[in-house]
């Protein structure tokens, strides 16, 4: 019963607007949190600030020009996006990609997973309160990986290096030696970040059993990638729906038990170690020379009418391309199923009931990319 001194006052929950410009919303994402004291009572996410029509423009571009938009939509895992786009078109046209191109694609995609997870480690440290130290450690490694990408594709961030049928041009001749160097530095980088964050008491206190999500709720909300595996669902597209040449490698799939923020961090950290082992296996089996584009490639890429739903395991989850074609050299409809969009839809159920500071941690643990969310 309300004490008498509080008779006249009505306690109102305070809506806080974590607006489009906020250091911890990873870009332009707006959350209206209704909090009472420090507890979050309700969350209404507002997205669409970065909706710039990637799908509409891809309908107006033919299959060679569309790769640039796949890069710019998922700008932290560009090679996964390009791989998904190329696999979809190759499946429709029935093109066989030569061996050497497949191996180089896998090496570059896994390197890209490493650089994307480094970006996550950095941003996650800032959300938990580190004054930029995790960012600088993570970016030191990310720059080494970006140097390799720049030597291979000529650009630091928007590679547009995969083509339908294989690769754009031959890799540099010291490619394998450069990748070995970068892998040594990356392993040291992973160990540094592991020492900095994993066993840090305050970090563990801030992350453990926060935003816990059970397995069947994760499936109902359509989560994918590290969020799904952290909740205990043993599902990885590279093993359960194998594409390209992933069945030839042996690697482990980390699966969490509690589905909380700390498990998601551990799953991603473990995935980085697995990616390093995949790259090493792929480097050994890489055929030294061979064609990177099939011989009889049609000059104009025309797909027969039909549809295909190709899906790729990007660092954030299942990046799918639903390509509908009515014949001709332009896709009739191209829907990009972005993992961040589906993961973000579960934000409200994870955050209600937690503290305000945890809402920031939960959003950070989802590792969303805003252009991926709004396409």
């Amino acid at each position: 019963m309300v004490a008498e001194h509080e008779q006249g006052l009505d306690i109102v929950d305070m809506p806080i607007n974590m607006g489009p410009q906020h250091p911890s919303t990873h870009g332009v994402f707006r959350m209206v949190l209704v909090i009472s004291g420090e507890k979050v009572v309700d969350v209404t996410p507002h997205i669409g600030y970065m909706h710039r029509g990637g799908e509409k423009l891809m309908e107006a571009m033919d299959y060679r020009q569309g790769i640039g938009y796949a890069d710019r939509t998922e700008y932290l895992a560009q090679f996964s996006a390009e791989l998904g786009y190329c696999l979809a078109v190759e499946k429709l046209m029935g093109i066989e990609v030569p061996e050497r191109a497949e191996y180089i694609r896998i090496i570059l995609t896994e390197l890209n997973r490493l650089s994307s997870h480094f970006m996550f480690m950095g941003a996650f440290g800032i959300d938990s309160g580190l004054f930029g130290t995790s960012f600088t450690y993570a970016f030191r490694e990310r720059e080494y990986i970006q140097d390799v990408f720049e030597e291979v594709s000529g650009d630091r961030l928007m590679y547009a290096y995969f083509r339908v049928g294989g690769l754009a041009w031959e890799v540099t001749d010291n490619f394998t030696q450069r990748v070995h160097e970068v892998l040594k530095k990356t392993q040291k980088g992973i160990k540094d970040l592991d020492d900095l964050l994993t066993k840090n008491e305050i970090f563990m206190a801030r992350c453990q059993n926060i935003g816990a999500f059970t397995a069947d709720r994760a499936i109902a909300y359509g989560l994918s990638g590290p969020l799904l595996r952290a909740s205990g669902v043993n599902w990885d597209l590279r093993r359960d729906e194998p594409y390209s040449i992933y069945p030839r490698f042996t690697f482990q799939i980390p699966v969490g038990n509690y589905g909380d923020v700390y498990d998601r961090y551990l799953v991603r950290l473990e995935e980085m170690r697995q990616s390093v082992s995949i790259i090493e296996q792929a480097l050994e089996k890489l055929p030294p020379e061979g064609p990177i584009v099939p011989e009889k490639m049609p000059r104009r890429l025309r797909t027969p009418p039909g549809e295909v739903y190709a899906k790729v395991e990007s660092p954030r989850g299942e990046w799918g391309v639903y390509l509908v074609s009515k014949g001709g050299d332009k896709p009739y409809r191209l829907k990009m199923r972005s993992p961040s969009f589906c993961n973000l839809s579960a934000l409200r159920e994870m955050t209600v009931g937690q503290f305000l500071a945890d809402a920031v941690m939960i959003l950070g643990s989802m590792d969303i990319v805003l252009c991926d969310v709004d396409r």
């Binding site: 509409k56 069947d216 359509g222 009418p305 639903y322 509908v324 014949g327 973000l344």
Partner: protein, 227 residues
């Protein structure tokens, strides 16, 4: 409702300009090379206009689905995926919900994972909504499609069945104008809140032209600053 197999429009790739619904003006449409230079192409058989509808082999999951939901007109055919082929089912609008609940709850199907929900604008054949379902335990994959016409684009909402569909349906409504009745809060998601009549992804919404000079409101002192 059987599928309206209206006469198929020949949408040739670069030259096709169907009179009433102009396809989007290509940004840099490569001017077709004069016929003389073009290498003599082998006589091409007429381009197949519609994807061949191969009925699925016996014993595939659309029989289980048909058994689970008796008396529902279903057109099933095979659809390519990276791992081979998968079953696609076209269903009428009003028996979409029973089919989906059967797919989700039937133990043999167990399609609990709604992967992707996309709208497709088939200009004169109406608007189509495509659902991709898959299951972790039985490893089945199913694509469910349903067609609505332009004048009453209403599809029953699956937000109660699949929470994942909540945001996808709001996005499809923003982009195509397909109204999902029964949706908890069908407020624009990707567009500003007061814009409910502008559907960017429809085919009849052209791309905007590039403006030539954009610096009209540059600061007056800004121009001469550079040397």
């Amino acid at each position: 409702m059987t599928l309206p197999d209206g006469q198929e429009e020949e949408a040739q790739g670069d030259a096709g300009a169907a009179p009433e619904t102009p396809p989007p003006a290509e940004a840099a449409a490569p001017t077709p090379k004069p016929a003389a230079e073009r290498p003599a192409r082998p006589a091409k058989e007429a381009e197949p206009k519609e994807a061949p509808r191969i009925p699925p082999p016996a014993g595939s999951i659309n029989e289980i689905l048909a058994a689970a939901v008796p008396g529902v007109a279903m057109l099933a055919y095979m659809v390519p995926t990276l791992q081979g082929e998968a079953v696609a089912v076209e269903v009428g609008r009003d028996d979409l919900v029973p089919v989906m609940t059967a797919a989700r709850d039937d133990k043999r199907l167990d399609l609990k994972y709604l992967r992707c929900l996309s709208g497709v604008d088939w200009q004169d054949e109406g608007l189509e909504v495509v659902y991709h379902l898959s299951s972790f335990t039985t490893r089945h994959q199913l694509t469910v499609k349903t067609r609505v016409t332009y004048d009453d684009p209403v599809v029953p909402s699956l937000a109660s069945l699949f929470p994942a569909a909540n945001w996808h349906e709001r996005e499809t409504r923003d982009m195509f104008g397909i109204v999902f009745d029964g949706h908890p809060n069908l407020v624009p998601l990707l567009l500003p809140d007061d814009m409910t009549d502008h559907f960017p992804l429809r085919k009849d919404n052209p791309l905007q032209e590039i403006e030539e000079w954009q610096g009209e409101n540059l600061r007056e002192g800004a121009g001469e600053g550079e040397e």
